[in-house]
């Protein structure tokens, strides 16, 4: 059965499509989903943990061309609001495989994650590069897969750059925002983070550092090396801890 969908604006007459070729909203079509996306729809089993995946490029105010995989802040920010509001969601698992992207969009997501009242755990898989770093450390506890990498480098700007002192001052300010956020939400010191940022000789055509798995933990950027089992286990334990604290607080308040 097709669900009714009303169009506001006129669109050209649709070419009749082969039946059962596309995903119909609100219907289960696992076969179609596998065909379209290479995966089945997320399990429908009720879980108190919500998983948010940060993938590809973190898109900024300009829509990236279709060939880019992107994380869109206009979708993720309201999702985080919904997570905070939801009574069913008790914890958030963030899975990162991102090259980074727009600094402001990345920081916006990181600030949202850091200010959630619910327990959050992040897991860096393939990569958590550039502005993916602040997003990873924004969680209450962070994990990195042994083979995952994180690139720490100075802020860049695409397009025309006007060579005036104000441009450099602006870049400096932007950089401070990133450095401050990362150092406030992880164990890395400002000095160490800046040293990694401006290190030469590590990247072929750039300055900065690539941290692989354990390196990220050793410098204090990420809390632990681990995988999905560790991340979920940690999230469950933080959730349990919060439940116990709440229960204890409630029993203290109740008159004896």
């Amino acid at each position: 059965m097709r669900r009714a969908a009303t169009m506001i604006s006129d669109v050209p007459e649709a070419v009749p499509a082969e039946p059962d070729k596309k995903i119909r909203i609100g219907e289960d079509s696992t076969g179609d989903t596998v065909k379209e996306f290479g995966s089945t729809t997320v399990p429908k089993a009720k879980s108190s943990i919500h998983t948010l995946v940060i993938i590809g490029q973190i898109e900024g105010h300009i829509v990236l061309p279709a060939q880019n995989k992107t994380t869109k802040y206009e979708h993720v920010i309201p999702q985080l609001v919904a997570i905070e509001e939801s009574r069913d969601i008790k914890g958030l698992l963030l899975v990162l495989n991102t090259v980074g992207g727009d600094v402001e969009a990345g920081l916006a997501l990181a600030e949202m994650i850091a200010s959630l009242s619910k327990p959050t755990v992040s897991l860096v898989l393939g990569g958590g590069h550039s502005i993916g770093g602040p997003v990873a450390v924004a969680a209450d506890y962070s994990f990195i897969a042994p083979t995952a990498t994180m690139t720490v480098h100075p802020i860049r700007m695409n397009g025309l750059v006007i060579g005036v002192p104000q441009t450099y001052e602006y870049l400096d300010k932007m950089q401070d925002r990133v450095v401050n956020f990362v150092t406030q939400h992880s164990d890395i010191t400002t000095e160490k983070y800046r040293e990694l940022m401006f290190r030469t000789g590590e990247l072929a055509r750039d300055i900065g550092t690539v941290l692989v798995g354990r390196d990220a933990v050793e410098v204090g950027l990420i809390d632990e090396v681990g995988g999905i089992e560790d991340a979920l286990g940690k999230l469950q334990s933080i959730m349990q801890e919060r439940r116990s604290t709440r229960r204890a607080r409630r029993s203290k308040k109740e008159p004896h």
Partner: protein, 67 residues
């Protein structure tokens, strides 16, 4: 991670054959989407003031909707 002095649209040329963004009402939610050559609609953006709508995977960006 692409850093260049060139504007992004020089590196990724705009697709001029792309159909325009059109507003659709899907299950009572306002969405922006583009119609594909086969008549389906690729959802670009959900516009809703109900935060929980954004958790519905059916309204994720790039979902293909059979209209």
């Amino acid at each position: 991670m692409l850093y260049t002095i060139y504007p992004m649209d020089t590196i990724f040329p705009m697709d001029f054959n792309q159909s325009p963004l059109v507003e659709y009402h899907i299950q009572g939610r306002l969405c922006l989407g583009r119609r594909g050559p086969d008549g389906s609609v690729r959802l670009e953006r959900l516009i809703s003031t109900v935060a929980s709508d954004y958790l519905d995977p059916h309204f994720s960006p790039d979902t293909i909707i059979d209209m």
